[in-house]
């Protein structure tokens, strides 16, 4: 029965449709009854305080964590059916960068899904990976051992690994955490370029100050969904206060000054 349900098309007009999703670790819920709809072609930020369950939400959507309740549809189908259309950028510090391999090899890993079991990457895959590295301006580091890259460069390699998948929908977990200003600018330009090609991008983002400038869709999360929709509707003092609670007292002053001085964002 459940299997049959999974094969059915459900909400095909939405890039991501999450309904009644609850996730718990050891009987403690970390995500409560999430209803989430993201239309195609947006650059969406998932924003919320530490421990809000942002990474858990993405991981559950991708089937890496089994939910206690609820269901997830991507372009109307289950993740398993849409796997080839989905690219994922995990947090940079979730892997060991001392692993003995090169940037090019890491990017090639993005193509393993299309290759399937047993088939080896060949010249064609290497070329595609090289092209993806060019897109993030990392081609000169292709044969560099990954531990020798800076944090920003490692993040670009991860981005290239997602680009090479040529997916329709991208999930990224804090791609701009701990990177320098140049890399942040480069990354956001690539994300905007992908959006202009009609792709959907769902980004866990940690920096409230840049949300308005970078994104056009916003999901405020703190264990449950507090608000979702176009940034201009969601980015309000009440919503932020609801999501961040006490922490918002600190943020508040910062935000107000930024809002009244919006032109500052343009320069970033």
């Amino acid at each position: 029965m459940a299997d049959k349900l999974n094969k059915q098309t459900h909400e095909p007009d939405l890039a991501l449709h999450v309904e009644d999703l609850t996730v718990s670790y050891a009987s403690k819920p970390v995500l409560w009854d999430i209803d989430l709809n993201i239309p195609p072609g947006v650059l969406a930020a998932i924003v919320g305080p530490n421990g809000a369950g942002k990474s858990t939400l993405i991981k559950t959507v991708l089937g890496l964590i089994k939910p206690t309740a609820g269901h997830v549809y991507i372009h109307g189908k289950s993740y398993k059916q849409q796997m080839s259309q989905v690219a994922y950028v995990p947090q940079r510090n979730s892997v060991d960068w001392d692993f003995p391999t090169t940037s090019l090899d890491i990017v090639t890993m993005g193509l393993y899904g299309k290759l399937g079991w047993l088939k080896r990457p060949g010249k064609k895959e290497k070329k595609q990976a090289m092209h993806a590295l060019e897109q993030v301006a990392m081609e000169s580091f292709a044969h560099r051992q990954i531990s020798q890259l800076s944090g920003g460069q490692q993040q670009r390699v991860f981005l290239a690994r997602a680009l090479v998948q040529e997916a329709n929908i991208y999930f990224m977990d804090e791609p701009m955490a701990g990177v320098d200003a140049t890399t942040e600018r480069a990354i956001i330009n690539i994300l905007k370029e992908l959006r202009s090609q009609g792709k959907t991008l769902i980004i866990v983002h940690h920096d409230l100050q840049t949300v308005q400038n970078y994104f056009d869709w916003m999901v405020l999360l703190n264990v449950r969904i507090l608000a979702q929709g176009p940034v201009k509707d969601v980015y309000t003092a009440e919503n932020l206060a609801a999501a961040y609670g006490n922490q918002f007292a600190l943020l508040n002053n910062m935000q107000i000054s930024k809002e009244t001085n919006g032109s500052n964002h343009e320069n970033l």
Binding site: L62, L64, D96, T101, M109, Y112, G113, L118
Partner: protein, 377 residues
């Protein structure tokens, strides 16, 4: 007597095959930071062996392989189960599970099989010296049994690693992405550990638990110090295993000591050599690099100092050689060193009877790299 049952050759070949079979799998365990699971498995398979023996009453049976694989998987499963409580961390969980399974095995041997050949020495280091005694006839040749079985296991591991190289690499580096792309990282991981168990049980007679662990962990760790490429790490690990077996046997014979002990010692010697002399990650190379970085940093400090005072009223005072002593408080020796280094590299030049220091274009760029890192991005 042909080569395949000749004692010297059989002992060295069995040692080398155990080493190659182990280090192939061990490389992935080391990279995955799970190498101590190999220790756990190599001990707890004793329970598998004893149970199968008690059930089949037969010392040579294919069920040993199955039993060992199951116990190996059980060891890992129990460890992960205990970790899930959240109050027992991974290392403690490993330490909880395998001594327990191992202890049950020892008690079972005591109660049911007092006259079986398993003894403590054999369990720890095996009896590789006797590996040539039991032979089988293959195509009219008498071949040591241990050689045949270890050859098959090595072949199995090699086929596994070659076939699933891509999957193993992805699941080891980034299990999250592996799962998202539809490769089950836990399936890959359990396959790896099952093969480790199979290798352990087949090698058990010959090498015992401790020698096996040293073959699983030490050659890959030494190889990891020597290269930045995964396939080279696998290859070097195999070479080091081969070398350890050969040199271990020869020196054991020469010194009339335990063969297994010498083989294990040689894996350690190879590791120490890599640890000290690896061109990139060795202690020596790092020390040399640190020294030259120190020199470079001092030179950079000088260029930054000159850059800050360039074309200012104070430049006459600040950019004198004497200022290095009176302002920067550098020792005479350090000043001589940094001046000769910087002149050598063309970062500075001396002006006005050698008393004033001036930056060259190269030196200016050198300073800017630190002060204005954004200017050359």
């Amino acid at each position: 007597m042909n080569l395949l049952s000749q004692p010297d050759f059989v002992i060295i070949a069995v040692g080398a095959l155990v080493g190659i079979a182990s280090s192939l799998l061990g490389s992935f365990l080391v990279l995955r930071k799970n190498s101590m699971l190999a220790d756990a498995i190599s001990h707890s398979i004793l329970l598998g062996i004893v149970l199968v023996f008690l059930i089949t009453k037969n010392q040579f049976s294919p069920f040993f392989i199955l039993g060992a694989a199951l116990i190996g998987v059980l060891t890992v499963f129990l460890t992960e189960l205990i970790v899930k409580t959240g109050r027992v961390k991974n290392d403690a969980a490993i330490g909880l599970v395998y001594p327990f399974l191992f202890a049950i095995a020892v008690v079972l041997i005591n109660v049911f099989a007092r006259n079986v050949h398993i003894d403590t020495d054999a369990v720890l280091l095996g009896e590789i010296g006797f590996s040539w005694i039991n032979t089988v006839q293959i195509a009219g040749f008498s071949v040591a049994k241990a050689l045949v079985s270890m050859f098959l296991v090595t072949l199995l591991n090699l086929v596994f690693v070659v076939l699933f190289y891509k999957e193993l690499k992805l699941a080891t580096f980034d299990p999250g992405l592996a799962a998202a792309l539809g490769f089950s990282p836990s399936f890959i991981f359990y396959s790896l550990l099952s093969l480790t168990s199979v290798t352990a049980v087949v090698a058990f007679d010959a090498v015992g638990a401790v020698l096996l662990v040293s073959f699983i962990i030490v050659p890959p760790s030494a190889a990891y110090l020597l290269t930045d490429k995964l396939w080279k790490m696998l290859f070097y690990g195999a070479i080091i295993s081969l070398g350890s077996s050969l040199l271990g046997y020869m020196s054991a014979v020469a010194l009339n000591v335990s063969i297994g002990g010498m083989m294990a010692s040689f894996t350690g010697i190879f590791f120490i050599l890599a640890f000290l002399f690896s061109p990139k990650y060795g202690l020596l190379a790092q020390e040399i690099r640190r020294k030259s970085l120190e020199e470079e940093n001092t030179a950079r400090t000088l260029t930054v100092h000159l850059y800050n005072h360039e074309n200012k009223e104070t430049s006459d005072e600040e950019c004198r050689i004497e200022a290095l002593d009176s302002h920067l408080r550098w020792s005479k020796e350090k000043i001589d060193k940094v001046l000769s280094y910087s002149l050598d590299k063309g970062l500075i030049r001396k002006e006005l009877n050698n008393s004033l220091l001036q930056l060259t274009t190269k030196g200016r760029v050198y300073a800017q790299e630190v002060l204005e890192p954004w200017s050359n991005i």
